[in-house]
């Protein structure tokens, strides 16, 4: 599984994503925002960070990078694309995912663990979880409040496109929805499920050195992902 990890000016989570993919036996490699070819990538990861200093809006300028048309073609072919944090913001700005990520409701930059529930396990990134699993995973963002028009939000729910949702666990010291995201949304997929964006950082908990490996399965799912065979209805 060849996994292209994109570097934009201001990306800062790409080494963690690289290591997480390598640990699961995948073949990660970096591409620069000025590249135009994905070099036979099986999957693409847009890592976290602050591309272009978050100028104008988070992800708004990175979305027009020379590499992005190749990412759009890759996504249209049904191949896996994962955007983490700033990567999620870039995917929303590019229109590969619906909605937008706005300033946190409390205006603070939040760097802390949250509990999220896995809502969907048929994506290339969540196949190794069980539906309903709740995992504790870090966030680090100032603009993570998922927002969408009411009809878009309804469609996301009807089509089962919500992949991760913030939850509050009773009697556990954990925040619920940290940023005011509509419907407690922490991550979504496109209609086909091959493009996923999420605000939490699984790559930060994918090594025992870091105290937890609860994020590993996003990467083991991907590395072992087999594209479902097309079913002929002829």
């Amino acid at each position: 599984m060849r996994v292209a990890i994109l570097r934009f000016p201001g990306s800062n989570c790409e080494p963690d994503a690289y290591r997480a993919v390598a640990r699961e036996g995948g073949t990660p490699y970096y591409l620069f925002h000025r590249d135009t070819d994905l070099q036979d990538a099986d999957a693409v990861i847009l890592p976290g960070g602050f591309s272009y200093g978050d100028y104008l809006r988070a992800g708004a300028i990175a979305r027009f990078s020379p590499i992005m048309p190749a990412v759009e073609r890759h996504a249209a072919d049904g191949k896996p694309v994962l955007g983490i944090c700033n990567g999620f913001q870039i995917l929303c700005e590019s229109g590969l995912l619906p909605g937008a990520l706005e300033r946190n409701a409390g205006l603070k930059y939040l760097s802390r663990p949250v509990d999220v529930r896995i809502e969907r396990v048929d994506t290339p990134f969540t196949a190794h979880y069980r539906k309903g699993d709740v995992i504790r995973i870090p966030i680090g963002h100032g603009d993570g409040r998922f927002t969408a028009a009411p009809e878009t939000l309804a469609e996301l729910e009807q089509q089962g496109q919500v992949v991760l949702r913030y939850v509050e666990r009773p009697k556990v010291d954990a925040p619920g929805n940290p940023n005011g995201a509509l419907n407690d949304i922490a991550g979504i997929a496109n209609r086909d499920g091959n493009v996923v964006g999420m605000m939490p950082h699984p790559e930060r908990l994918a090594d025992p050195l870091l105290g937890s490996e609860v994020g590993r399965r996003f990467f083991s799912s991907l590395v072992q992902w087999k594209r479902p065979a097309l079913v002929s209805h002829a």
Binding site: L56, R57, A60, I61, F64, C92, E93, P98, G99, A100, E102, R103, N104, A105, G106, L107, R145, T147, A148, A149, T152, G180
Partner: protein, 83 residues
């Protein structure tokens, strides 16, 4: 001809505007009674070379649609003046 274009990008009415709310609270704390309905947006200014005012305006609208405003969460207004 060259035109000075003033673009105002504002959070869409009805959506949560935490910056506007925070500024409104700060104004209240500073005893500015009567300040309400505060919203915070962006102002963008640029020169546009175009044949006439209408085409300068059309160019600015295309820039807003494509880059300067987020169609999901923001609205924009454009003012054009000859330089």
């Amino acid at each position: 001809m060259s035109f000075r274009v003033h673009i105002r990008v504002m959070p869409r009415r009805g959506l949560l505007d935490p910056q506007g709310q925070a500024v409104e609270r700060a104004l209240g704390a500073l005893q500015f009674a009567g300040a309400s309905n505060v919203h915070v947006g962006k102002a963008i200014e640029l020169d546009v070379a175009a044949q006439d005012e209408a085409s300068a305006r059309a160019a600015a609208r295309a820039m807003c649609d494509k880059l300067l405003a987020n169609p999901v969460t923001e609205d924009f207004e454009i003012a054009v003046e000859p330089k």
